[in-house]
Symmetry: C2
Subunit: 324 residues, 2 copies
Amino acid sequence: MNNELLKRIALINNRISELKFGQQPNELYEPIRYIMSLGGKRMRPLLVLLGYELFKDDSDSVLDQAIAVEVFHNFTLLHDDIMDEAPIRRGKPTVHEKWNENTAILSGDVMLVKAYGLLLDAPGDLKAILKAFNDCAAGVCEGQQFDMNFENLPTVAEETYVNMIRLKTAVLLGFSLKLGAMLAGASSTQAESVYDFGVSIGIGFQLKDDLLDVYADQEKFGKQVGGDIISNKKTFLLLKALELADADQKAKLDHWLAAVTFNKMDKVESVTAIYNEIGIRQLTSDKIDAWFAQGFTSLEALDVSEGRKKPLIAFTEYLIDRES
Amino acid sequence: MNNELLKRIALINNRISELKFGQQPNELYEPIRYIMSLGGKRMRPLLVLLGYELFKDDSDSVLDQAIAVEVFHNFTLLHDDIMDEAPIRRGKPTVHEKWNENTAILSGDVMLVKAYGLLLDAPGDLKAILKAFNDCAAGVCEGQQFDMNFENLPTVAEETYVNMIRLKTAVLLGFSLKLGAMLAGASSTQAESVYDFGVSIGIGFQLKDDLLDVYADQEKFGKQVGGDIISNKKTFLLLKALELADADQKAKLDHWLAAVTFNKMDKVESVTAIYNEIGIRQLTSDKIDAWFAQGFTSLEALDVSEGRKKPLIAFTEYLIDRES
């Protein structure tokens, strides 16, 4: 990532470290400080700032609203990690592991409240901003429910899968950018173009996540390559493989999906070999490219100068090229 | 309850039955329709309407904002019932029992979002309304955490207990009334008097709940009398008994608090007998009267006509006299 973007992330992290959230009872607020201090890409608040900078310069004036989105995102992580029984988040114990489930539920709840709180001093049309946030927040919950529903289905169609990741991941990226635009006083047409851009690159971003899980360079990835294969997660790669497999490949996939005891490395290698035979890597890469290209079409339609678009384009290129 | 109040509750129930909340996925929205249809006193939305009617007549114009508070309250029930492992709510299975914990977490989350959504079309100063709601919502979470903390303490002081019920229960009643006042364009001084009234009667209301658990007429109560005694719940009655017991009474209380296997009726009868010896019933009744009286002092300070205060006073008298 370039220095200009890193500077903004430092600003975001600095402001996050200053936030108090609340004092008493400590059992409620300590887990919030914990999860917020674990880091992460800070992609969503960065997108708020970059959305703002499409229209105005002083993006540091909307830092708290940018952080509202990060607090919301971390609220969803607290609750999703309970639902997914995930023990580790960013290399550290999840809140429900370090404390307990009740703490993760209740601290998560108060984080959602605090996310609204950080939005309330926003410049601009508060009602329109909160309506957009509410649509986004309900969408994220819907996406999580669809994702959980998928666990109990043998397979789902590509369109159904893409709708799930649109809700679970992409609408929040779209909202982040749109929030920045709204805070900077963009017209509703401009805000919609920015939102469409964000949703398209959000879908591309999640498909890239699915791809990296299988095809990342283990040295650079930071997580276990093949984790989704081991857990039978219904990723884009698995769903396309199930769709396109011939009888022999389908039988092999079904064998691994049904296996209860297995050597993890064997399973990852064997399923990856089937993906390779079917050409899943290229197919997924092409789909990712198509979603990012659709995003750029929305961005081109936006009537602001090329100079103003530069930081956002630089960040998007970082997302396209990322290896972890 | 008088007919005028019952008419407003019918209006509230009718509007709740019309609300869609959301459509897809059904797994997310069905539990919301379920919990909202279980009924309950609808005290909080009624207080919004009564707070509004202190200043203006057309309270049916703020029905959706009144219901926002009921949706928020039911969100807290969904999550609290998980934390308390409660199997039954209003005589029916709780959401985490009927579905599962994940459903109760996620449907609860989206209810909190929908509660904000119902507030967004409020007349008046949206930012001030949402700031008051946010303070209240964070307070309710803090109260729930304090309540859970108390489970692990041998006892807590009266002041500490009252602060917990103030946060967990009373601030939402205070906010409900204040919201009504704000929606009707009350001054901030007026809104504060109304809030103070609501918080005081809210504390009285919760202490009455504690009292009824032990001293209600079983025929009229609807729940198992003595449920709090059986579960060792740290109610006002138990805390005062622990504080005021002599050595012999303290030993008996400690015996029942430590008992693992016991006849439930024996425990309820024995602990109630100790309460009777110490005079806990009168002491609690006096405390309840004092909190309601403090509420009426705040209401007297409010500069609106006696006629306008009548419905709210009638409802408060119903709360004072209630037997279930």
